[in-house]
Amino acid sequence: MGEPTDASTTSTSTSTPTITITVEFTGGLEMLFDNIPFHHVKLPAKNTQGQVVTIGDLIPWLCENLMKDTRKELFVLDGNVRPGILVLINEADWELEGEDKYELKDGDNVLFVSTLHGG
């Protein structure tokens, strides 16, 4: 309270361990993220409950911190990744990796591909 924002972020980032992952958007999804397909994302290694950060934590984080577009529903519906968007974790379908339960590790690559755009 009352502390400058940058100071508080600095204190958290120095006190809590973080991981860096790459997040990639293709198939038209990059449109929602300033037309930038590749992002390096630095996350706290633990979520607010003190558990290892998962894809389930990453998704709302992306909406709040990375998405430039206001149409969040094109990415997230009912708290889940919109049906029709494929998620690959290190090139493997996330359905094989536990979907949103997958615990992120430093250096992971998470790819979101929209299948929803015209042929």
Binding site: T26, G27, G28, M31, P83, G84, L86, L88, E91, D93, L111, V113, S114, T115, L116, H117, G118, G119
Partner: protein, 397 residues
């Protein structure tokens, strides 16, 4: 190569061989929009043609609907694909064929209902493009998801006669001597996207700026939701669609095929590819041929003698109800569809004026005279002629 790629290639090869889609030496035009489906289709056909020695002569055929900020960009992708896959590319434009770009159509009629025009025009444009190349077989990138959507839309509209067109892997109709086929019919959209991703294919992924079509969109969302819960739902719907199509008497499906120069529009947009407007098409048809509308929604089905007797009985009982009695007289016409040529443009059509010409007629009549003078410089053709006629009518009034 990730296993997903080789499995996808093997499955597509099995579909092609199993359905005897191609003949050795055949020339094939790939309906190419620059989108993921047609790009994957071009890539995989090239790969399989070389690997299994199909002996096919492949080329790319693109339609330029004349939509700035969308089609002009995606055509750039197709041009790169032509180089990447070493295939000749032919582009035919609505502008040269009809004297109207979609931008002009939308300026005239607004965004609502424009997919109908686009769908009707595309159907002919692909045929005309293929004819220009002397090619008798056009393949399109329709995938299992597209077909499942169309099956659902036809079900929801009560339009079973259209199912056969939507679900057959090969369609040919009296309205055209050019065969269409869908080699990716059993491929999940997901597989296509993964294939494109892993092969780093160069494709264009922007939605048509005029597109969002509510009904197909809802069917699409439904399919995607079902896939989430039960991935095989998509192919199961395709299979159900095929089975139901087999129950529709051939004369009903044929009538639909003949009377629609555009039946593929139900699965036809995104260029040769999936997102057009079946719903609007149905509306259009009612408007164009009111008396035919009842036939499409005819629900009485009389099975051939070798059909399941139980089903036949049930249906005949239903057929005796008063509702069906009212519709019965309309049905005779369905069987007797005579194929002819459009009086205006000479294109094969079951009606004296083909659907594209009817739409053009409406557009041209409303076109401001100044516009007509400008565009009348274009090549002499039926559409130009019609514009002259429209101009005369306007100046006379």
């Amino acid at each position: 190569m990730p296993p997903v790629l080789s499995i996808f290639e093997r499955e597509t090869h099995e579909t092609i061989v199993g359905s005897k889609l191609f003949q050795r030496g055949e020339r094939i035009a790939i309906g190419a929009s620059g989108g993921k489906d047609s790009t994957v289709l071009a890539s995989i056909l090239k790969t399989l043609n070389e690997r299994h020695d199909y002996g096919l002569d492949l080329c790319l055929l693109s339609i330029d609907e004349g939509i700035k900020g969308y089609r002009d960009d995606s055509l750039e992708t197709v041009k790169r694909n032509a180089v990447q896959y070493d295939m000749p590319l032919e582009i035919v434009g609505y502008d040269e064929l009809y004297g109207w770009t979609m931008d002009q159509v939308v300026a005239q009629i607004g965004k609502k209902g424009n997919c109908t025009y686009c769908g009707v025009f595309r159907r002919q444009a692909l045929d005309r493009g293929a004819a220009k190349l002397g090619i008798k077989h056009v393949v399109t990138g329709h995938n299992a998801d597209d077909i499942a959507e169309t099956v659902m839309m036809n079900l929801l509209r009560g339009d079973l006669p259209r199912l056969a067109r939507a679900t057959s892997i090969v369609t040919s109709s009296a309205a055209s001597d050019i065969k269409r086929s869908k080699p990716l019919k059993y491929a999940y959209e997901k597989e296509i996207v993964l294939y494109a991703y892993h092969k780093k294919l160069d494709y264009f992924s922007t939605e048509c700026i005029y597109s969002p079509e509510a009904f197909r969109g809802s069917a699409r969302a439904l399919i995607k939701d079902l896939e989430k819960i039960r991935p095989s739902s998509i192919l199961d719907i395709v299979k159900s669609g095929e089975d139901m199509a087999a129950l529709v008497p051939p004369e009903l499906s044929t009538a639909v095929a003949c009377s629609g120069d555009n039946e593929e529009a139900a699965t036809g947009c995104g260029s040769t590819n999936g997102r057009s407007s079946g719903g609007e098409m149905a509306v259009l048809e009612k408007r164009l041929a009111v008396e035919e509308a009842a036939q499409y929604r005819e629900t009485e089905i009389v099975l051939p003698a070798n059909g399941n007797s139980l089903v036949q009985e049930t249906l005949q009982v239903k057929g005796g109800s008063s509702i069906h009695d009212k519709k019965k007289p309309a049905r005779k016409k369905v069987v007797k569809q005579v194929m002819g040529r459009c009086d205006k443009c000479g294109y094969l059509s079951s009606q004296s004026i083909c659907k594209a010409c009817m739409l053009l007629d409406g557009l041209n009549k409303a076109r401001p005279t100044t516009e007509i003078t400008v565009s009348a410089e274009e090549e002499e053709g039926s559409t130009t002629l019609m514009r002259h006629v429209a101009a005369l009518e306007i100046s006379a009034s």
